[in-house]
């Protein structure tokens, strides 16, 4: 069934009649990042106005692969169950070179996590769920067909001009968060440009509806016979929609390649028959670049407006949600006077670090898929050759590295007897907890997690637990007991074996001040 693109309701905003009081936060863009941002801020008690120049969800599947961390974030936003129930999980991946299968792998789910490693789910479903959730929340004021035409910043506010079907009006807010995508109009209005390695490539992206029992697997081709010299990817999504990504090369004409008479024969070659319906086609041009700074006074960039990567490795939507995760509690703390405005510098520091890791990974994948002639191509082809024969080389085949949260650099208290995976700067790992899950119990407030010990009373919420095999593996290591300070975004802030009230207090201060 094709997705039903139902328009969202537009209502004339109050600002058309009378000047609105200054808002706390204005979010520009009601894509997954902007919507998630508004809901996350409401989780921390902060109201926001979300402006979007459109009134439907995004057309076409776009971001489809949502990582474990994104699913955990969705859970906190209230759409985790829906995303999990609707999403498709593939386990088997097959890699082909020219006309033969080089190897396949079966991703066994990791035990003791509520969420799988990822699900495939079209971006329009994610947006629909987030809009429905946002509309239930009083703190979120969602305004469709509200197009920002001008942005100006003063010492104590951001002023916007907005166009609607009923005319123009102005808004002011303490902060503006630009979640308006790769071509960010806000970025343009501020005269800011992306920096970094310019790395350009064209991909044809198509959704097709296909009945029948085509396997729920990921198929990746290097230099397939049906698409000489390039790469191709086939993925299953819900509703019998399959996503096909075909690399076109930089010197192709996007408008020409999008024509059905060019697209359909190509897809017939991929799937081996013509029994499908073309649902959506787009040519995706990407660069691997980012803004030097994500925070510009009272204007903050998150998601694609701040950084753009290649589509392989699922680092666009997922990294945008991690921006949301990082920024929500910090901006709330600044607005509510719990933290100095300097805390926002740590958003800039941590998320530019995360963006660099994503850029590095996606550039490497792109380079593996499109090696330069000469030695690069020789190495690439020989990795593929060895992969058919020697197990180690399979891991070297790079058709996209699944997005996992980066580990923020941190000099906070640590103890090397404890597991590396949960060191300060890392996102806390999930584990079964009673009848539920650890991350759900950590929630979105700062927490002291005490395992096999009692926590000192320092005015923070405490979670005291007895060890389990999963907690031993993920949190204790060799230690008899452990004591973790966990930030509202569930990142480990500091940890000890023997908690010392004074050291913990200092770490709590460092957390609110955003010190690394």
């Amino acid at each position: 069934m094709p997705y039903d693109y139902e328009p969202f309701e537009y209502a004339p905003p109050p600002g058309l009649k009378a000047k609105e009081p200054q808002h706390k936060v204005v979010i520009v863009g009601a894509g997954p990042v902007g919507l998630a941002m508004a809901i996350e801020l409401s989780n921390h008690g902060v109201s926001s106005v979300v402006l979007d120049d459109n009134n439907v969800v995004s057309v076409g599947s776009r971001a489809i692969c949502w990582s474990k961390r994104s699913l955990e974030i969705f859970d906190r936003l209230g759409i985790g169950e829906q995303a999990l129930a609707k999403g498709v999980t593939w386990k088997v991946g097959r890699t082909f070179h020219r006309d033969h299968e080089v190897f396949n792998f079966d991703l066994l789910p990791e035990k003791g996590h509520r969420m799988p490693a990822f699900v495939n789910l079209q971006q329009y479903y994610v947006e629909q769920y987030l809009v429905e959730r946002a509309q239930e929340i009083d703190l979120v004021d969602l305004r469709f067909l509200n197009k920002v035409t001008a942005v100006e910043q003063t010492d104590d506010a951001v002023h916007l001009r907005i166009e609607t079907p009923d005319g123009e009006y102005g808004l002011a807010a303490d902060y503006l968060i630009a979640c308006d995508g790769a071509r960010s109009p806000v970025r343009g209005m501020m005269g800011l440009e992306f920096e970094g390695e310019l790395f350009e490539e064209h991909f044809l992206i198509a959704d097709i509806e296909m009945q029948g029992n085509f396997a729920s697997e990921r198929w990746f081709w290097f230099e397939p016979e049906f698409h000489a010299g390039q790469s191709a990817l086939l993925h299953k999504q819900p509703d019998n929609i399959y996503r096909i990504d075909l690399q076109l090369g930089w010197d192709t004409d996007p408008d020409e390649e999008k024509k059905p008479e060019k697209v359909i024969p190509r897809i017939e070659k991929v799937v081996g028959h013509s029994d499908f319906r073309l649902d959506w086609v787009s040519v995706y041009t990407f660069q691997c670049r980012r803004l030097r700074d994500f925070v510009h006074g009272r204007i903050i960039f998150a998601g694609d407006s701040a950084h753009v990567v290649s589509p392989f490795g699922a680092r666009g939507g997922n990294s945008g949600l991690q921006d949301v995760d990082n920024l929500g509690w910090k901006l709330a703390a600044v607005l509510q006077g719990r933290a100095p405005a300097g805390l926002l510098d740590s958003y800039n520091r941590e998320r530019t670090h995360g963006a660099d890791e994503n850029l590095r990974n996606s550039s490497r994948t792109t380079r593996f898929m499109t090696p330069a002639d000469g030695i690069e191509r020789i190495f690439r082809d020989q990795v593929l050759r060895l992969a058919g024969k020697v197990p180690f080389a399979r891991g070297w085949v790079n058709s996209g590295r699944l997005s996992v949260p980066c580990i923020y650099p941190s000099a906070a208290p640590d103890n090397i007897r404890m597991p590396k995976a949960t060191r300060p700067g890392a996102v806390a790992l999930d584990a079964p907890h009673g009848n539920g899950w650890l991350l759900q119990n950590l929630g979105g407030a700062p927490r002291l997690l005490a395992i096999n010990c009692a926590a000192p009373d320092l005015g923070l919420d405490v979670l005291e637990v007895e060890e389990t095999p999963f907690l031993r593996e993920r949190y204790l290591g060799d230690a008899a007991q452990a004591f973790y300070l966990i930030r509202p975004d569930q990142v480990v802030a500091a940890r000890w074996i023997e908690p010392d009230a004074q050291a913990v207090r200092a770490a709590i201060d460092a957390m609110w001040e955003g010190r690394a």
Binding site: R364, R367, I375, E376, F379, K389, F392, N398
Partner: protein
């Protein structure tokens, strides 16, 4: 000690990127020469005749 044929190099993506970067700007003959030197350096480091023979055999079989 026998030749390790399963994954043994942490962060091999990083190594692969460094390997390509080391070749950048070289012509074909220079790249061949670099690869030759690299093999000799690594062979000396490995220092195990049986392992090296198996590695040579495996590389040759894959031709």
């Amino acid at each position: 000690m026998s030749l390790i044929e399963t994954d043994n190099l942490p962060d091999h993506d990083d190594f692969y990127a460094e390997l390509l970067a080391t070749h950048r700007g070289l012509n074909e003959a220079q790249s061949h020469a670099l690869n030759a030197r690299l093999i000799l350096i690594l062979a000396n480091h490995i220092g195990d005749r049986a392992v090296l023979s198996r590695a040579l055999e495996l590389a040759r079989e894959t031709v």
